[in-house]
Symmetry: C2
Subunit: 512 residues, 2 copies
Amino acid sequence: MNGAESLLKTAVAAGVEVCFANPGTTEMPLVAAFDAVPGVRAVLGLFEGVCTGAADGYGRMAGRPALTLLHLGPGFANGIANLHNARRARTPIVNLIGDQATWHLAADAPLTSDIVSLAGPVSGWVRTNRSAEELAADAADAIAAAASGQVATLIVPHDNQAGPAGGVTAPRPAASPPAAGEETIRRVAESLKRDQPAVLFMGGRALGERGLRAAARVAAVSGCALVCETFPARLERGAGLPAISRLPYFPEQGMAALSKFQTIILAGTRAPVAFFGYEGMPGSLISRDQNVEALASPEEDVPATLEALADALGAGADAGEVSPATRPQRPQGALSLENLAAAIAYVQPEGAIIMDEGNTSSMAYFPMSAGAPPHSYLTLTGGAIGQGMPCATGAAIACPDRKVINLQADGSAMYTLQSLWTQAREGLDVTTLICANNSYRILGIELMRSGVKEAGPQARGLIGLAPPRLDWVQMSKGMGVPAVRVETAESLVEELERAIANSGPHLIEIVL
Amino acid sequence: MNGAESLLKTAVAAGVEVCFANPGTTEMPLVAAFDAVPGVRAVLGLFEGVCTGAADGYGRMAGRPALTLLHLGPGFANGIANLHNARRARTPIVNLIGDQATWHLAADAPLTSDIVSLAGPVSGWVRTNRSAEELAADAADAIAAAASGQVATLIVPHDNQAGPAGGVTAPRPAASPPAAGEETIRRVAESLKRDQPAVLFMGGRALGERGLRAAARVAAVSGCALVCETFPARLERGAGLPAISRLPYFPEQGMAALSKFQTIILAGTRAPVAFFGYEGMPGSLISRDQNVEALASPEEDVPATLEALADALGAGADAGEVSPATRPQRPQGALSLENLAAAIAYVQPEGAIIMDEGNTSSMAYFPMSAGAPPHSYLTLTGGAIGQGMPCATGAAIACPDRKVINLQADGSAMYTLQSLWTQAREGLDVTTLICANNSYRILGIELMRSGVKEAGPQARGLIGLAPPRLDWVQMSKGMGVPAVRVETAESLVEELERAIANSGPHLIEIVL
């Protein structure tokens, strides 16, 4: 057994099932080990941003880490942007990065670079393996570190993958996150009785079904509102689940949404800040004369904490409102952002996974789908565009029995369009809806916000994606994913229904 | 005048003409400044790896830096792989990275990350701007740093772009690199007279016409051989220029090529090392009983040093052999690597820029084209694949009157295929030849070299790019570049002739 095999056996023992990979020469012993050690499915991405974004989607849906396998510093670097999003989502991921053989590192061969410096900004845990004997233990440590909601990065020199291994390491016992202490719960309960109006501002682990049901009990008994962070990693929602509103994106709107509350109680997230700092506007979305109560940090057991809070407030076990089952009517006529949203909400099946990187094109979808059948809702957590295509890919691998709908802005889709090829190769049940407005629309808005009344030709050239107009049907077919273009609400609904009735990947270009 | 405008005016004063950009909200004042300050052409790339790779190609051909404009850490990260190649090529590039407003950095908003840590591994110079007043001076310093053959990275907080500027900074005087000292030249001249057989091992600045002609004079008088590094950033070659052979890629072949020499004289490059460390094989390609003489480092004035060496040896002013004008015959029949190479060498016009990221598919091209009309030859310097598509794009912007032919492996092309869109938008005269072997062929070779006799199904899945087969014609048309597929040598030559006769971008998918 070589180091690579001991690493993979250790991963299998810890429950790892998938590796999103784009390897090179320095990863060859690991490539060979996928066949020698059964249990880890190797999924090729034709660009590393596909691999890391897929690992993010997989981890959000599976609740346990996938591996990535990446080629030295430059290969890893191509995956950084989506690891940035994964870090903000607190997704468990284990990156394996091959490096030059230990004895060849000092030669500074062309592909050599400082991988630790690249890995640090997106990794909660980084280690360079020192020997083949230690590879299994390093892998077990990396998987345990990831399991707590981190990106863990293990750099594996080529020779250590090939060298004689020390054995397999048993899984590290998972550290269960603690619930908030009794004193905190008592303090927050007192505040809820006293300092109304109040809002539970929720994120991270609070947004699963258990956390939401507990929060709804708290709301029922205290009268507080429920608001979630602007970009949740994964929110369970739909008919029969507690309703929660979402903090708006622009800071003035976010502040307005929160301004009516005397008290903001943080559950599984930090106090909200502006996505960007605008001159003359504060960076915090909470003013100094509002109370902020920290109930549970992202690292704590937020659902258990919310349940304890509901109990402390004397909430009934089944208290709390849920969203009634409602769907918009079958939309008709010209395409608009409203009937794009209505089409999805009208069609989406129970258990759908909605990946929303629609940016300015998907704003109508969230309210429109509140009463759709229960579904998981994933968003762009870190702002690094190009996340929807691979995240949907990984989610489909984690949940092969669920339908994935990727509501996708065109400019962002271009960042990681190679994801379509992986969807075709693996036969994944992903329907990609390209919102083709041929523009980085958000940048046009931001340019106006920055005080520019009318963009000049160079600025317009940096914001517009046409000419030439991207033809998503041709690009998609070129990667093996059947595709159509729609220009009316009727044809959108028909094509969506067809895609949902037939498994496998589909792409629908929506001309906006 | 705001900070962004002072920065751009300073860049224009220093001779900067192009910025390859994919901006976001934190770069809006710079976006607006492109219209307020004339002189810098903003070129949009639909992915940052396109921008940095294009800046590399531009810098190699123009000999002066382009700007890139990138959005915070994640946007910059998407450009790292091609900056890695640029660093190895010693290409002058100035990266401008927008960051959060200084007062908003501590809020750790979603897109915030440690940009300095990401930038360090690929930048010879990194600075975070501290005020709007200092932006012009920082830009002048960055441009001067880049001009010496470095990647210079300037991080520009959002508020400092918008704040009142301190004025424009005049260009820093360019530091001319020194030639090697007389003692070194005397020592090397003595060695050449004494320790034959010898080879001038050349790279970097040695590979322009002036350096090559001087080296040919040295060879004529001393009998030494001329060999260049495996992956030159830019080599001038063809009929009427001195011939130089290229060090083979695999280390055993590289060692064999050098083993016949008693002395290896380094001119503009370091002593050659293996691209990867293989077990049982040394990392250095030079053995202990060979002499290594350092004539000129990559940082020195290598052409002047070579001329001084030729003079010291008493070489005639016009001495030195040059390649005779020869072309292969017009190839016929089924496609093979040989007649792919022959087709290009048969067709390529004088002054062509040949970007070669053909990897295993282009090995026959270099010897086949030795007698083609004079041309510039660019290669993948740092091993980070995905460089050919954008590098060809940038080269075409630097040299609008020259024909660019990008000899491009399919797996590598998928990394930065978005380059095609920029070629279409800008109407660039680039002909992309996709070598469609549907495989990471090099990895199949490397897997065998690592001792695996027969790849298992998972390894095969990580090496093969089909199924599904990529359809480059559809993908290219989807981005606005006309494309055809060829399956015979005759049709390849015909399509190449057509592409060369008609300006603008073309893509030819070559079924191998």
